[in-house]
Structure formats: C-alpha cells, structure tokens
Amino acid sequence: MSRLYLYGITRPREVPQRLADQGVFLVDSEHRSVVVSELGQVDNGGPVEATRRNLLAHADVVEQLHQDAVVLPARFGYVLESHEEALELLELPEIEQLLDRHERTCELTLRGRYEESVLAEVGAGLQPLRDAYRAEPSVEVGIALGEAVGERLAARRARDQSLVLDELRPLVLDIAVGEPAGEFAVFDLALLVERGRVERIEARLEELAARLSPPIHFKLVGPLPPYSFVRLGMPAVA
C-alpha cells in the first residue's frame, strides 16, 4: 500500500482529467474529500523533497481544483500512511467548518514596495544630520544619519500600511498581515475575498496605488485558494 501525498481537502467531485492523468485522486467520505496522489515508486520512506518541481506541482493541483470549488490547501510536505489516515483527517470537526466558510472565497496576496525616492522624502526633515554628514562624511556620522533615515522609513511604512489596511477592510472578509521582507517593502498582506468581488477590489487597488505619494508599487496575485485562512483552531470570523 503506497503512502499518499496530501494536497488539500475539498468536497466530493470530479477530478479534472489533466490532474487525474498525473495520478491525483480523491479519498471521499460522505461530504468531504482528501486530495492525494500515491507516492509509489518515488517514495523513499522519508520526507518529500521540497524541490522546485514538487512545490510547483502542489500549487498547480490546489489552484486548479480551486478554480471550480472550495479547496483547503495543505501546507507542503504532508504524507499520509494510508486511506484510513486520510479518512480520519476528514473527521476533524473543524474541517467541515472551514469547508463551509470557504465555499465561495478566494485569497489575493498583495505586496507593496516603495521606490528608492522614498528616502529623499523621509530624509527631508533631517537637515542637521545631513549637514553634519556632508561636513564630516565619516562612518559614524553616516550610520547616525542612516539610522535616522531607517527610523523614519519604518514610521512611514507603519503609517502607509495602516492606511492601506483601512482602505481594504470594508472590501474584504479577512486580512492576514505578514511581515514585509526587504528594506523597501511596505506591506505583505493576504486578503480573503468573495470570488465575485475580485475585479472590484482590483479596481480599487489600482485607484489607491495611483493616489499614494510617495508611490507604492502594488503586486496582486490571485485568485488563489485560501492558503492563509485555513488554520485549524482558528477562531471563526464573524
């Protein structure tokens, strides 16, 4: 009996032919299904390797299935020992709640990034330090100036992030706030939205992005399965 690789959980349905051809199938209970494929010959008994190929395959399966209906995507790397273990998983009471909650949702990820010119703007109030650096361009004075710029940049980031969050909250069901990565990153958000509202939200973001000064470049990815909103034990959002 082969071990099973877990992609996620969905409602009983037909698996699209393209995925079926790749060995993806469902293990069904009455109203819930586990999306898996047999590890078969590639199974070395150990962990599934996080290769580019495997990661993209996982994303492809859950995103394809999500186009037609609810999918609770699993985090990468879970392996089930048997069909029985798959069925046990479906008996978790929270699974039914999550399937209900995400019946018509999708996730959009939204990242924002400043241009370098933001430094000119945040440096505008630091004239004494800048004069000092010009007069004495030492490492010490440079660090003092750079730290002051960094602090102002952090304050600007916090302000712009909450401004964007305030704009978004009325439009979405939920927001997961991530840690922005990179010195010019402003925010890293996952938005839970109704499938039917994606275009409207996109239009609002476009309008917001054009209005902000200094400019923030937005990158919007989706609609995706609700990757960031499927935590077991997560309190239901009213």
């Binding site: 990661l55 490492v139 440079g142």
Partner: protein
C-alpha cells in the same frame, strides 16, 4: 503572465507562478495538521525564516545616508558632497554587500533544494524584493 495597470503601480498575476510566491505560500501557509499526520518537513522552517530577513545593518545605514544625500543634492552642489568612503567605490561595495545578503540567502535555499542548476524564467520573480537596479550575485562575496 503578468500585466501592469495603466499607471504602472499595480502588477497583476493570476496565479502564484514564481518560485518565491510558491515557496512562501506552501512552506509558510496552508492547512497544518500536526496531530493526525506524519509530517515530513525537514529544515523547511529554517528556510522560511531566512526568506523573511529584513536587512538592518551598517551597510544599509550607510547606503541610506549616501542615498539621502545623493537624492537631495542633485540640483544643489555635488562638488564636495561625495564622502571619502564612497569615492573609493565604497558605494558599490555597500550596495553589493547588502543585496548579496538577501540573494545569498536565496541562493543557499535554492542550493539546498537542488534548484540552482535549473535556469528558469520564473526566477526573475524571486529577486524583486531585494531592490532594483543592477544585480550582483551574493555568492561571490
């Protein structure tokens, strides 16, 4: 498969096509079911932490300081404003080092995952977080 809005401030991608997107989403999010299944996640928690490092270093501060002066002085006076530190190519060194830290992390991850040997268009996506302009490979540092 991306497109930009008319103003150019919104980039759209319908799916998580780039490796960076997929890495973050699949390793950091998604259903976690510790109690029931055998988890096969070796070293992945550490990798995701590396991805999220926000650089706060002497290099960054010095580059900020230099940039603030440069951006500000364009129209004013550039005769005596360039600090000694940067006259010796220090500007480039600082920039290279900082980006190297970010991209070096990514390279390490790719290496660990056996991804380094593949060339792929998607990889362009992976590095956009680390800034714009000329790129330098971090593993040469």
């Amino acid at each position: 498969m991306q497109r930009e809005s008319s103003q150019g401030y919104l980039t759209r991608a319908p799916r998580s096509s780039g490796l960076a997107d997929v890495l973050e989403i699949l390793l950091d999010r998604g259903l976690v079911i510790d109690a029931y299944v055998r988890v096969s996640l070796v070293g992945i928690e550490l990798l995701t932490v590396d991805l999220r490092v926000v650089i706060a270093s002497v290099d960054t501060y010095l580059r900020f300081a230099e940039a603030v002066n440069r951006l500000d002085l364009r129209a004013v006076d550039d005769s005596k404003s360039v600090p000694d530190l940067f006259e010796k190519g220090g500007e480039e060194v600082a920039e290279t080092k900082t980006k190297g830290a970010v991209e070096g992390g990514m390279d390490a991850i790719k290496e660990k995952m056996g991804l380094g040997s593949r060339s792929d268009d998607d990889d362009d996506d992976d590095k956009e977080q680390s800034g714009s302009g000329s790129r330098s490979r971090g593993n040469n540092q």
